[in-house]
């Protein structure tokens, strides 16, 4: 009995559910005759679904090949975001329109996530895993709720999900690819030359200066790449772990999340983060292309300084 529950409420089961959702998206895309280019995205999301469902049993080199296939499809321009034909599907009739109850499904997701994490912890299991399993079952609960509230069919539910997913496009798998890049960076010992370069630049074995170097390199790399998620694996391997976590025994969770969020100061200051800093200029019809960045500059610098002080104090005083 416990074994069955353990299988149903496992991360593996949630991966299978997510994979099935992705395969549904793919089938609906291919079945959509009005789609301007249906086979590219259909293949892309189907392959991702296969990796989700069978990733744990497939030989890793096969999964690696599947990743290459997905990236090649995207690189060949077959999976552009926003291609999903949004034909403004028949708006639901007034009669069945739920009022503020429409918030319920969306709020159910974090509530179930949290409940699972608490339950896992109470049972002496990993609360991290509990949150992820809860995210999966929270989403299922939200699907059931929204179907009940709106009287829609499961097919309509999946069709809407597919539309939103295609609208966001292949960037959706970017964080996962970046985490994988981190694994290869670690194996290639990319951190060593970066760490030794910084040690050469910093005059002494000084905690405060290392914290400054860590925050500065994270911010600068984020500005160059336009994306703090892309910068994090590099800085983690090259600066954070070898120069701060290892020698000073710093709390890895605390300094790592602060390193990611100090990167956001860089995002606020760079035109490379077009989605956040240039798109609103166009959306709002602003005169100056860098108007948003200029407005964010003092905030970004002030919060950067707060990050440095916070990180230093945590390493120094929190044990």
């Amino acid at each position: 009995m416990a074994g069955v529950a353990g299988t149903i409420f496992s991360l593996g089961a949630v991966y299978v559910i997510a994979g099935l959702v992705l395969v549904c998206f793919a089938i609906l895309t291919v079945a959509d005759r009005r789609h301007p280019r249906r086979w590219g995205p259909g293949a892309f999301w189907c392959v991702l679904g296969i990796v989700f469902i069978f990733g744990s049993v497939l030989p890793h080199w096969v999964s690696g090949l599947l990743v290459i296939v997905m990236v090649a499809l995207d690189g060949a321009g077959q999976v552009r975001a926003g291609l999903a034909a949004d034909r403004g599907a028949a708006r639901p009739h007034g009669a069945s329109r739920p009022g503020n109850q429409i918030f319920l499904p969306v709020v159910a997701i974090p509530m179930v996530t949290f409940a699972f994490a608490l339950t896992f912890r109470a049972l002496g299991m990993d609360a991290n895993r509990g949150a992820l399993v809860g995210l999966g079952y929270g989403s299922l609960a939200a699907m059931a709720l929204v179907l009940r509230l709106t009287g829609s069919t499961p097919r309509e539910l999946m069709a809407e999900g597919r539309r939103l997913n295609e609208l966001m496009g292949p960037v959706n798998i970017l964080p996962q690819l970046l985490a994988s890049l981190g694994v290869i960076f670690t194996a290639a010992r990319l951190g060593d030359p970066i760490a030794s370069g910084i040690v050469r630049l910093v005059p002494a074995d000084h905690l405060f200066l290392f914290v400054v170097a860590n925050c500065l390199s994270m911010t600068v790399l984020t500005m160059v790449l336009g994306n703090s998620f892309a910068a994090f694996p590099v800085i983690a391997a090259g600066v954070l772990v070898p120069l701060i976590i290892q020698p000073f025994g710093a709390d890895p969770a605390a300094v790592a999340i602060l390193t990611l969020s100090v990167g956001a100061s860089g995002t606020l200051m760079t035109p490379m983060a077009a989605n956040f800093n240039l798109v609103p200029v166009a959306l709002l019809g602003m005169k100056s292309e860098y108007g948003v960045i200029r407005a964010q500059l003092p905030f970004a610098v002030a919060l950067w300084t707060i990050h440095v002080v916070l990180m230093w104090s945590i390493i120094r005083f929190v044990r």
């Binding site: 497939l58 890793h60 429409i102 999900g161 998620f229 990611l260 609103p280």
Partner: protein
Amino acid sequence: MTGSLPLLGLLVLGVGLLLRLRPALVVVAAAVVTGLLAGMPIYRAELQLLADPPAPEGILNMLGRAFVENRFVSLFIITLPAIALSERFGLQERAAAVIQQVRAATVGRLQIVYQLFRVLVGALGIRLNGHAAFVRPLLFPMSVGLGAVEPPLAQAASLEKDERRLEEIKATDAAAENYGNFYGQNLSPVQPGILLVYGALKALGYEVSLWRMVLFSVPVVCSSLILGAVQFLLLDRRERRRGR
């Protein structure tokens, strides 16, 4: 032995993103180049990996293993059907109605409330593009209404002044969205950013608690709210002075 050669993989990443090539392609190209320069083989049969001593992993094997092990980072895709159908049935309109009920007396106070709202959305684990969903259709018109920016009927002299005020309001509206979005999302243990940190640290040999990361994000979120409030209230003060 290979020294700093793999750093060229980083160069591939930087140049590729700078040239605006497809980001997924750039990331995988950087991974392959880094692996090759570090002397990894392209592919290794599974049997050789099980041998004793195990052969070094091939790039394809490692890419597949890493991608599979990090599936949890993309797990948010499972939330999309419920969110999308709720949107079809007026989720955003309802959220807009809630924001519109805010009786803010000034532009700055409205922006403070909006940043708080965005932090809350992020803490619930919901990802959305707020510039298109809320700032353009909602926050901006409300701010202009509160700023009582004169229509360009005024005399030529004040026309230019109004334009500068309008530009400033637009910029701070966009900033309120970015501040709330960037920092608020770290309050949820299932947002991709926090999960990416978890995955990257695991690769480096550190298993950390998602909840502890959320805990240490709290002081950052509080600081961002205070700094944002200062900026928005300073905007109000400038508006008042101009009003005279």
